[in-house]
């Protein structure tokens, strides 16, 4: 037992343990997702997060220590965002042809996301600080945190709201869009990227390459658009 404690004490200071655990949790989450026939309710991000949060809790590991290892995965978010240029380039002629539907769907999707979030929250009596976070929740995390901070919001609360929005979008999109009878992969992917940023885009790539490419575009455009729209709409609610 003493040996084990010593080995654990040594290993847990190394980034390797939590880096391995992050990949292992994702492999388990992804395996469940595939075993469930890619059902959106079996979200691989959500499963991995629950497994890891449980493990951190059981081993009394602080998040900062976990992040020592997990940062190597987290770091790749930046290069992955740059890599979204590749599917965009492959679909460039289709994107150009769809410029008008893209702009229309961006405007309607983005304004709906901000306005309905604030309206629902206000009806349910949510107060000022979370309102700021809710107004930017569909934008990709760094943009959302930046805009909310400039309006006096909390970065942590904004990060929580943004991640929850992404997971929610990834889980509801397929059944919702099937029920609406929409079969155009461009429309399905684009709307998901606008409403649920990178996590929605990740889901779109799992479903169809065209949906993935259009989701990536939706995410990028809404990063810019939210910066313009969120402060305006939030002003109407104060």
């Amino acid at each position: 037992m003493n040996d084990f404690t010593e080995i654990w004490a040594y290993l847990s200071r190394q980034p390797l343990v939590w880096l391995t655990a992050t990949l292992a949790a994702y492999v388990i989450g992804d395996t469940c997702f595939r075993a469930a026939n890619r059902a959106p309710i079996v979200n691989p991000v959500l499963i991995s997060v629950i497994l890891l949060a449980g493990l951190l809790h059981l081993t009394a590991t602080p998040y900062a220590e976990y992040f020592q290892g997990a940062q190597f995965v987290h770091f790749l978010l930046g290069p992955a965002t740059v890599a979204l240029a590749f599917p965009l380039w492959e679909n460039l002629p289709r994107l150009r042809r769809a410029a008008i539907p893209i702009l229309a769907a961006l405007t309607v999707g983005s304004v709906t996301a901000v306005a309905t979030a604030l309206a629902i929250a206000q009806v349910l009596g949510v107060q000022s600080m979370p309102m700021i976070s809710l107004s930017v929740k569909s934008a990709t995390a760094p943009v959302a945190i930046g805009i909310s901070q400039s309006m006096g919001g909390s970065p942590t609360l904004t990060a929580v709201v943004v991640i929850l929005t992404g997971i929610c979008g990834a889980m509801v999109a397929t059944p919702l869009l099937n029920r609406l009878g929409l079969t155009d992969w461009r429309a399905r992917g684009f709307a998901l990227g606008v409403a649920a940023h990178g996590i929605g885009t990740a889901r779109a790539f799992q479903v169809h390459p065209t949906a993935g490419a259009f989701a990536g575009l939706g995410m990028a455009l809404n990063a810019v658009f939210t910066a313009l729209v969120a402060p305006l709409v939030l002003g109407l609610f104060n």
Partner: protein, 117 residues
């Protein structure tokens, strides 16, 4: 592969540097994506270099959100007594935004005769 990774890093680095110097309201990686798109457009050879790495990384895009997701669990208490209202706003507005965006795209595409092949 190393050339592809270098290209991704260079675009991101340029993006980060430009957004900071010019005080642009978008994150460095998003500008990096636009720079990469321009590079792909004007350097025909780049596409075949980028393809395997881009497809590999985007095929497991979900994985990259796991560390941030784990961080959220520790801060979920930040939602405080307003948790139900906030969750309802997130779920309700996400459903409405996806539906509104997708319907708008499909309807406008139909009006403008812009159907997919």
């Amino acid at each position: 592969m190393i050339h592809a990774i270098l290209s991704l890093f260079l675009c991101q680095l340029l993006g980060e540097a430009l957004t900071r110097t010019l005080n642009l309201p978008l994150p460095g990686p998003v500008l990096g994506m636009i720079l990469m798109l321009l590079a792909l457009r004007f350097i025909p050879k780049l596409a075949e270099i980028m393809r395997p790495v881009a497809q590999g990384i985007l095929g497991h895009l979900s994985l990259l959100f796991v560390p941030a997701g784990v961080g959220v669990v520790g801060h979920i208490s930040q939602l405080g007594g307003q948790a139900i209202g906030i969750m309802a706003a997130i779920v309700g507005s996400t459903v409405l935004a996806i539906a509104a965006g997708a319907i708008t795209f499909a309807v406008v595409a139909k009006w403008t005769g812009n159907m997919d092949e």
